[in-house]
């Protein structure tokens, strides 16, 4: 049985946070959806709050420190990514974007990604489509059609189970994409395809 790795990126700040709560439900649903399709999965969570200073340091020094390198490796090496952020001032949070900013160019190219966000009210739900999806389009990630938004009221269950249905549908879409692909390899070695100097002299770069 193939074992997939699902990386969860959660940008929630409080403990416990509704962002992490949503991330955990998405992770559970994704593991279940993969099992239905005959595949096993392990979940690795990156809590960005723990890397808030590492991220600031990386901007200043120009390189991620060991702890942040490990977190980045978890995400870039996974078979799929659950990206979950709170809505801050009409967009993903600064902490979330900071993590995206330290990823090497091409790090998420072709990576299956499920987008999700939380906020106080449903009025912010289009942040998923107007901010998150264009960001991941820029990264050339493969985002699944259903993105999941949870407002405070969704946790009351007053929506007749709609949040749960969206979670199940999104997780199923992600599992469909993942099961059609070979197991994830670590990112390619940047030294593997350096052109020979003869090619550089001929004008390659």
């Amino acid at each position: 049985m193939t074992t997939r790795t699902i990386a969860v990126v959660s940008a929630g700040l409080s403990t416990p946070s509704s962002t992490r709560l949503l991330a955990d439900r998405l992770a559970t649903a994704t593991v279940a959806a993969l099992r239905e399709r005959g595949e096993d999965a392990v979940v690795e969570v990156v809590e960005l709050r723990e890397h808030a200073r590492d991220l600031a340091d990386a901007f200043v020094t120009g390189f991620p420190n060991a702890a942040l390198r490990a977190a980045v490796g978890t995400v870039t090496g996974a078979d799929a990514v659950l990206a979950v952020t709170p809505v801050f001032t009409a967009s993903y949070s600064g902490l979330f974007k900071s993590f995206v900013d330290v990823l090497e160019e091409g790090a998420l190219t072709g990576k299956p990604v499920l987008l999700a966000a939380t906020a106080g009210t449903a009025r912010h739900s289009l942040v998923l489509e107007h901010a998150m999806r264009p960001l991941f389009a820029h990264l050339r990630a493969v985002t699944v059609p259903t993105a999941v938004f949870a407002a405070s009221e969704d946790w009351a269950g007053g929506d007749g189970g709609e949040l749960g249905r969206r979670i199940t549908r999104a997780a199923g879409e992600l599992a469909d994409v993942v099961t059609g692909r070979p197991a994830s390899a670590r990112p390619a070695d940047p030294f593997a395809d350096v052109p020979s100097f003869e090619d550089l002299l001929r004008g390659g770069s």
Partner: protein
Amino acid sequence: MQFGVFSVSDVTTDPTTGRTPTEAERIQAIVRIAEKAEEVGLDVFALGEHHNPPFFSSSPTTTLAYVAARTTRLQLSTATTLITTNDPVKIAEDYAMLQHLAGGRVDLMMGRGNTGPVYPWFGQDIRNGIPLAVENYALLRRLWDEDVVDWSGRFRTPLQGFTSTPRPLDGVAPFVWHGSIRSPQIAEQAAYYGDGFFSNHIFWPKEHTQRMVEFYRQRFEHHGHGSADQAIVGLGGQVFIRRNSQDAVREFRPYFDNAPVYGHGPSLEEFSRETPLTVGSPQQVIERTLGFRDYVGDYQRQLFLVDHAGLPLKTVLEQLDVLGEEVVPVLRREFAALKPAHVPDAPTHASLVAARATTPEEVSA
């Protein structure tokens, strides 16, 4: 093995006094630092090239020629010479001239420069950084190695029947190092020519330096210049030394915390863990520096950065005293004892002249 210092020539406010040295003071200070490097027994002084404030060193050959006149033994180098935005003809002329005046005590380190606006000031585009480094250096080599050059390329007006003067001293061009923080193409370039490769080393985790040097060594062997462990490697290093480790940390911390390159980010302790920065006693610096060999192999040149971030001249000169008296003699002995006989020293003018005498002269096309 060669030991020395390299300076990026920054004019930086001393964060402990709020005072900014004038350009005139810093220029005099850099000459004093170079003289002191020779006095305390170091081998190399290397100076950066920049064309924007807060740096003063736009004209390294002027400075290095002056230093050459005031020293007798010190090897003069650059850190780095901009192979992208300088005309390779001017580099060939300037450094051959310097080589004559300095009696051969000259080598160069090529670098691309990472400041976007500098390129258009010199009619270039940073997006062509690698192709510029490749074409310009290929021309520079021919200008030094061939008496009469016909040449045309993408970035510079063609040359017909051009002779770069003066010809290199004794017909032997200065040795060249190629410096790069993160571009494997530059390591490939150094390997292709059998030139030296210098890893800046000081701003990144050691795994990164290790990978770059390993790649350079493999390619050096691939291009037929010798075995991988005979490739010519240089490393940067960054130290602040006091007899007592706690004194070093206490004194250097404000300079670290406000340093233009990495200040206002990680703590001194965190940055010391992640990079080769060593702030402590002479013994700590010796042990850390000897440890570099564990991940790059036997190498030929170790340059320390000691005069940056607003450190006053007096402090810098004290650092040079400690390096010369307590650190480098031990490093020399220890590295020499570890180095196998088939690993060469860094080339010098004398060694290059001798090497040419023992190999038949190539016929130039």
